[in-house]
Amino acid sequence: MTERKTTHFGYQQVPVDEKAGRVADVFHSVAARYDVMNDLMSGGVHRLWKRFTIELSAARPGQSILDIAGGTGDLTARFSRIVGPTGKVVLADINESMLKVGRDRLLDRGIAGNVETVQADAQYLPFPDNTFDCITIAFGLRNVTDKDLALRSMLRVLKPGGRLLVLEFSKPQSKLLEKVYDQYSFRLLPFMGKLVADDADSYRYLAESIRMHPDQETLKSMMGEAGFVDCEFHNMTGGIVALHKGIKP
């Protein structure tokens, strides 16, 4: 009898082919209140992390940008203004509920014309080779089942010289901060999830998935192995979040 290959879903081990469905359930559940919870959980600091991501993206008018796991469209909205009418921004998310919330929110803000929404799996991006000048994936990579496969897929659709930016929770750089952060994530976060979204389990998964995500150096080497060059990372808020950048040669 052959054993089914497993992967992590938070602290649980689940069959590889079940992870995507479980992650999807989490995000179907939190989609409607995703922005409110993000603001609440991070005290609004997620806006500053995303702001720095935009700075480092070096996006310019006329460029093509892919915002993977773009969720409710924070980055897409800003990119849409930067690339202007001659550029293009694709908001991609594997989750239909998140994508729907994102698309509605962009339309409500009058952002249209240079924005497309695509339901897509980061592991198998449905775009031709060498399409985008820049790809961002903010708080999405840790939910992807096969991260190496996703990084290679991103490399394929980037133009030579194009930039990949991975904004993701990471490992705090001080022991004290790590202790405080653990208390916050495993005690306060599920409590807030219960209170605001009536869904403690989804927020417990978020905390666990952060701990299971590769740390700064590991992710940097994964990007190098996938074929990116000049890989670097910037720790933010003491390493709670890190922004990784790599270039397609």
């Binding site: 600091v45 500053l48 702001r51 720095f52 700075e55 480092l56 070096a58 310019r60 933010m236 922004l243």
Partner: protein, 218 residues
């Protein structure tokens, strides 16, 4: 390196402050909209810091985006100490050269921005009206204007006298002309040192060239 979160927070705060002020002066927003697409780069030498102000346009006028990095074209680039920039913003007669601020690119953008800043006339009644309603806001605004006018008349030259007392009588701060002269001296000194350094560099490269040539002959 400073945590990028702090820098992003600083940029976001500055951007919000500028655009909040502009929101209540539609005249300035209209003038700013005409500068859409222009970029002002500011490099502070002390403390060392760079920021880029991008002027953008939306339906009801111009607004400003603050960035810590900018890869595109910069219309006007200013470089100088924070002290010099404060003087440049405060003093309507101040010129960048006088204060040791280096200007690269178009000086027209700088002149227009200085003019907009000088003429900024924020209508405080509008934000107030959102909080307490149109009529009370107008009454309050009129009252504040009346009180301000009365105070101005009643106190006359009091603020000036106060400032003079602080600087001339108590000697707690230097008088304004003395401060400006000092700032100009510092700027002239910095420029002198830069020139001297450049000359030394030229001399050094000349001597190194000659030494190399002598060595070759031996």
């Amino acid at each position: 390196m400073t945590d990028p979160t702090f820098r992003a927070g600083f940029d976001a705060t500055l951007e919000t402050a500028i655009n909040s002020a502009l929101r209540y002066d539609p005249g300035s927003r209209t003038r700013l909209a005409k500068l859409a697409g222009k970029v002002l780069g500011v490099t502070l030498t002390a403390p060392a810091m760079s920021l880029f102000l991008l002027i953008e346009e939306e339906e009801d006028g111009g607004y400003v985006e603050v960035h810590s990095r900018w890869q595109g074209e910069v219309t006007t680039e200013l470089s100088g100490s924070a002290l010099a920039f404060v003087q440049l913003l405060r003093n309507r007669d101040a010129t960048p050269a006088k204060l040791g601020v280096t200007v690269r690119g178009s000086s027209a953008l700088l002149a227009e921005l200085q003019a907009i800043l000088r003429d900024l006339d924020i209508d405080w009644e509008e934000p107030l009206a959102k909080l307490i309603g149109d009529s009370p806001a107008h009454q309050l605004g009129a009252g504040v204007r009346l009180a301000a006018g009365w105070l101005k008349d009643a106190l006359g030259a009091a603020p000036k006298a106060g400032a003079e007392a602080v600087s001339e009588e108590w000697r707690m701060t230097p008088p304004e002309p003395q401060f400006e002269a000092f700032a100009e001296d510092v700027a002239a000194f910095v420029q002198g040192v830069d020139r001297l350094e450049a000359r030394l560099q030229v001399l050094r490269s000349k001597f190194e060239g000659r030494d190399g040539a002598d060595g070759g002959e031996k």
